[in-house]
Symmetry: C2
Subunit: 139 residues, 2 copies
DNA sequence: CTTCAACTTTAGAATCATTATAAAATATTC
DNA sequence: GAATATTTTATAATGATTCTAAAGTTGAAG
């Protein structure tokens, strides 16, 4: 398979050196069509425990941030919880299930925002995040 | 003035004992009509430095969380930044200015959300947060 | 008003996420 | 392949938040 080749290309095109560690992270994050939500710790665990590859937590942080900056990942922050990253970088929104502590994607088209206000003078809009908090029905 | 009385009542009605520290925090947060955004640290500093009252950071945390649980404060979490609290508990939204690291309220009516999706089975919607990220124009 | 149980505050320790550091390893360029 | 720039790494440092357990305060009941 030439998947690895593609990752090498992808990184090189972004001016990121394709190191072993970065390629391993690409493999975990971008091999499948499925998008997913994870914390830095989750990702480090997958690599260390499932793939049994040694990787420094600092490297995982560095890489995740580099990928975020290049637009390969989105960060979602939850009040009273930690930061999650999302491999789905299309414009879309989220449910946050506060019982399961879990994000669920909502397609961009499923919510229509009308009359979004103008940015304050001298500023411009960079992105809009909608988080719908949900919890278990109380019976 | 009977402001203090009112705070005592407010707390008692919520089943929160009106202690000196909690009343002091009420005074800082709810005396003015103006709403504002702050971190736990900001609040502790105001009390210690401006009011020159000694208060433990742990108490500020406890109180802020108690007030949040009772609905007197809202928490807003920013990707790659920390948690902010908001004395405006009306349903409303925010700009986040990533240069100034500052939240700006957006009136609820200024954004119309159409077709908000149903919560997943067995869950119900508890709240919706819209954060519009803005940054300085690049010239 | 005194007493007592329940609750709260406090300082400091503990934890957790994240960032900084600087030496060793690796990648790129020539 | 040697020189330079970048990256990885383990570890320390930081910062936010929570925990702990002892000391202090509050409210209810007599």
């Amino acid at each position: 398979m030439k998947e690895l080749e593609n990752f090498v290309k992808k990184l090189r095109n972004s001016g990121i050196r394709p190191t072993k560690q970065r390629l391993k992270i690409c493999e975990v994050l971008f091999s499948s069509d499925k998008t997913f939500h994870f914390t830095v710790n989750d990702l480090a665990k997958i690599i260390e425990e499932e793939l049994r590859e040694k990787i420094s937590l600092a490297t995982v942080y560095n890489t995740v941030h580099a990928f975020k900056k290049k637009g390969y990942l989105k960060e979602i922050s939850i009040p009273g919880d930690k930061s999650y990253f999302d491999t789905n970088t299309n414009h879309h929104h989220h449910f946050f299930d506060s019982n399961a502590k879990e994000l669920i994607d909502i397609d961009f088209n499923q919510i229509e925002l009308k009359n979004t206000p103008k940015a304050p003078r001298g500023k411009s809009i960079k992105g809009i995040d909608v988080i719908i908090n949900v919890e278990n029905d109380s019976q």
